[in-house]
């Protein structure tokens, strides 16, 4: 059966890269004695796939992996079983059995919510000034930046890939059309300076915008130096798009089966 696991990543474990996170889960599932389905052959491996790799240094409240199981307990028991076998820093927060026709998470990923915080100890403007300038920046008709990939570099307008922004959680959730639960826990780090911005951007194999690039473009726009180490990027949620290109209908990956 197909199952989808939602997990958080925080603290020191933000320094573990994607491939190592995969290996970590493989061993955790074995420790938890899950009835995982394996591939055939001399080097059997677990049938699992991740929705969207998270870069080194990022934290997250909403990461997903799809796992093929032979048998399963009910969700709460599964979550407890898995978390007992894991260290702090990566925790499972949701477990769902999917229908057999469900497409795998990676192919569905279309957008993601991020919170970008300015870290303490770095020179940066205060929140009021930031809000004003970032809003002006976002209000531009187009935001052109040099996008470098492994093979090429070219000028790209990233504005269409930024779907929404906000400066506090309540505002942001309103903008993206989601209900705001003020008691909802988050593993994100909080910084004393309090300067942050929320954004919903295109994510996935066809169109992927990194929040870091948005910050770099912002710095260019305001004429300040972009220091890659000054920001903590935290992913909040990952979405699939059930609508069309003109008319997006985003749904979080853990809400898809309902």
């Amino acid at each position: 059966m197909k199952t989808r696991i939602k997990f958080t990543k925080s603290g020191p474990l933000k320094f573990i890269g994607h491939l190592d996170v995969m290996r970590y889960f493989q061993k955790a599932f074995r420790r938890a004695e899950l009835d995982v389905e394996y591939s055939q052959g001399f080097n059997p491996h677990q049938l699992m796939s991740f929705a969207a790799p998270l870069g080194v240094g990022l934290t997250s409240d909403g990461e997903y992996l799809d796992l093929q199981l032979k048998t399963s307990d009910e969700p709460k028991a599964m979550i407890d079983k898995i978390n007992k076998a894991m260290a702090e820093g990566i925790q499972v927060v949701d477990f769902k059995v999917l229908s057999d026709e469900s497409k795998n998470a990676m192919s569905m990923v279309s957008a993601a919510d991020y919170m970008v915080s300015v870290k303490d100890g770095y020179e940066f403007m205060g929140m009021e000034e930031f809000k004003q300038k970032f809003q002006d920046f976002y209000n531009k008709e187009s935001i052109v930046i040099l996008k470098k990939s492994k093979k090429s570099e070219k000028d790209v307008d990233i504005k269409p890939s930024i779907y929404h922004i906000g400066f506090d959680r309540e505002e942001f959730y309103k903008n993206i059309g989601q209900s705001f639960d003020k008691d909802k826990k988050s593993v994100a780090d909080a910084y004393d300076n309090g300067v942050k911005v929320f954004m919903q951007v295109a994510t996935g194999s066809s169109n992927n915008l990194k929040p870091e690039l948005v910050m770099e473009a912002f710095c260019q726009y305001t004429g300040i130096e972009y220091n890659i180490f000054a920001y903590q990027v935290h992913r909040m949620e990952v979405y699939a798009d059930l609508g069309t290109e003109e008319n997006r209908s985003l749904i979080a990956l853990d809400k898809m089966n309902d």
Partner: protein
């Protein structure tokens, strides 16, 4: 979760930040308020290498079972972090607490190979602990060393407060109790070291002086403190089935070189190969009870989630219950997706059956270690592997589908002749010829034979400890000769010959049989930038040569010189079980190419009987 010692910015700048964050599965956490002794264990190489080492896992588990002790770990920072730590004066920290090591009670190094010596100095310096033992104050941790290199600790003696010689399971508790008591009474470092020196197995270098003759050989090794013992006796854990072994080994986040459960099935060896130090110093052979191993295999796999389990010992084919153990592992775990990694086995029906069950025969290799190219030289080194058994074993494997063979040899063995060297190529070719006697339709394609030669380094406590080692030039000449011989072979297209650089082995040769005068060379080389010497991309032989020159130490004195029986060797003060008489007898038998039977066939009175156990007192089942 604990605050990390390194900032986000540093961690995001360096390679593999996961090396420095700790928090691994099965990491031990303790409340520092309830701890009397803080111990830091160090494997002086990079994290991925250190995490593969079984010894630290055993000691980590053992120390942490004491309620009054918290044992943490540290590994050599990689070159990128090393540079940053020096620039920013960041003190080296232990992984568990992320706190500076200089505040600990003990810093213990496990010293597995000679080429990590500069890394030891790196860890001391980055920890902000004085490199030389004589410069340490009451505030510095006690620096100790354990592991196989302590069988000749003299080249690094100046850097250590004490060495623990032998197996770690026995007297560490006593040592820690003595430390605690001394601390409570307000005793000094010296007070502690004097009390520790009275415990068997503990060697405090500062309590002994070495005098040299005009010709640089040792004149005398004398005690200068009454608390030191005249002879330091190695420690041996006689009860292998009722002793420390970790049920919850640490699981690193990044891939360690050994990313699996390791089961040490026995310690010691019966074979008596004359070049092998481990086979001599770990005598007598002691097996672990099979029920113990089965229980631990299950627990360890359950607690780690590893997908592979391997068996570790010097000569696994000699473990008496090997068949039962291997079939148990296959039956229990193969179906659960756990790979059984087999050690090198003597090729017989059992081995072939088991190998085909756990390996893809088309991709795995058969391994033989003849070590020498002729029966004469194999007899000299007492490696009882005959050409007939190699060819028969290979043929049986070929008939079962294997077509890849790995062969290990050494160059520079005592009494080696051109015929012996050429024999390496001839034997490799003979194996290929055997393969091609199989009719073409029944073969699995071509055979692939990979032969490699390493440079023989004479080691202390072996019959060859008196031997002359070849010079780098002689070794390279022999490689050339051998390469040419390979090119003459009929099946040269099926054979690949791998050779090794000579210089690292030359250094290993100096440190293996070195004395205290070598320590200044190590210090100078380290200060000049030598680090990670066993990593070819960082090995700087020219800096080492300069360090030797500057100190007027002649490499050839340690490597190329044949010793006489009467010479005082730097390690003579250690009792390793095997007696000097036995080793000299074996040396003479070697010169006459006389084979010595293994411990189970006949007792050769090596001296290990004194431990009153193991194979020496086994029932002889014929």
């Amino acid at each position: 979760m604990k605050k990390l010692a390194l900032s986000d910015e540093i961690l995001l700048t360096i390679e593999k930040p996961a090396r420095y964050i700790g928090n691994e599965i099965n990491m031990v956490e303790k409340d520092l308020n309830n701890i009397d002794i803080r111990f830091c264990m160090c494997f002086p190489d990079v994290y991925e290498i250190g995490m593969s080492h079984l010894g630290i896992q055993i000691l980590y588990d053992m120390f942490n079972r004491r309620e009054d002790t918290y044992c943490e770990r540290v590994y050599s920072p990689w070159v990128d972090l090393d540079k940053i730590m020096r620039e920013k004066q960041i003190p080296l920290f232990a992984l568990e607490s992320q706190e500076p090591i200089k505040n600990f009670d003990f810093l213990g190094f496990t010293i597995q190979y000679e080429m990590c010596y500069t890394n030891i100095l790196q860890v001391l310096e980055l920890s902000q602990i004085p490199i030389y033992a004589k410069d340490r104050t009451e505030d510095d941790p006690i620096v100790l060393g354990g592991g196989p290199c302590t069988y000749n600790p003299e080249p690094i003696a100046d850097f250590f407060d004490f060495f623990y010689i032998g197996e770690g399971e026995t007297v560490y508790n006593k040592i820690l109790d003595v430390y605690k008591e001394n601390k409570l009474k307000g005793g000094t470092r010296k007070d502690f070291l004097e009390k520790a020196a009275e415990i068997d197995g503990v060697y405090v270098p500062a309590f002994y002086d070495v005098d040299y003759n005009e010709d640089n050989t040792i004149k005398a090794f004398t005690k200068n403190n009454v608390h030191g013992k005249d002879i330091i006796s190695k420690q041996v854990e006689m009860n292998m089935s009722d002793t420390y072994y970790p049920k919850k080994p640490l699981v690193p986040y990044i891939k360690a070189t050994q990313d699996r459960v390791v089961l040490e099935i026995q310690r010691g060896c019966i074979r008596g190969c004359r070049f092998c130090q481990a086979g001599m110093v770990y005598r007598p052979i002691r097996e672990r009870n099979i029920e113990f191993l089965k229980e631990y295999a299950c627990e360890m796999l359950k607690n780690t989630g590893h997908e592979e389990i391997s068996l570790s010992s010097l000569s696994s084919s000699d473990y008496s219950a090997l068949q039962e153990l291997v079939y148990f592992l296959i039956d229990e775990f193969s179906s659960k997706g756990v790979n059984i990694s087999l050690p090198s086995l003597r090729i017989d029906a059992f081995a072939l059956d088991v190998m085909s069950k756990v390996q893809d025969v088309r991709k795995s290799s058969l391994t033989f270690a003849p070590e020498a190219g002729s029966q004469r030289l194999r007899d000299v080194i007492n490696k009882g592997l005959t050409e007939e058994s190699i060819l028969n074993g290979a043929m049986d494997a070929f008939n079962s589908g294997w077509n890849r063979v790995k062969l290990y040899f050494m160059l520079g063995l005592p009494s080696e002749t051109v015929e012996d060297i050429e024999g390496i190529a001839v034997l490799s070719d003979k194996i290929a010829r055997e393969y091609y006697t199989i009719p073409k339709e029944q073969r699995n394609g071509k055979v692939s034979i990979v032969s490699s030669t390493s440079f023989f380094v004479p080691k202390p406590f072996t019959p060859f400890q008196w031997s002359r080692m070849d010079t780098a030039e002689e070794y390279l000449e022999k490689q050339h000769l051998l390469r040419a011989k390979f090119n003459e072979q009929l099946n040269r297209k099926s054979i690949k010959y791998n050779w090794h650089e000579a210089e690292l082995s030359v250094l290993e040769g100096v440190f293996a049989r070195g004395d205290r005068r070598v320590s200044k060379v190590i210090y100078d080389a380290y200060k000049a930038g030598c680090l990670y010497d066993s990593w070819s991309e960082y090995f700087k032989y020219d800096l080492w040569e300069k360090a030797f020159e500057d100190n007027q130490i002649d490499i050839a004195f340690y490597t190329n010189r044949e010793r006489i029986k009467e010479e005082i060797l730097p390690w003579d003060f250690i009792d390793a079980g095997v007696t000097k008489d036995f080793l000299w007898r074996e040396y003479n038998r070697a010169i006459n190419a006389k084979v010595t039977p293994n411990c189970r066939m006949a007792c050769s009175n090596c001296g290990a009987k004194v431990y009153e156990g193991g194979v020496c007192f086994e029932d002889r089942k014929q």
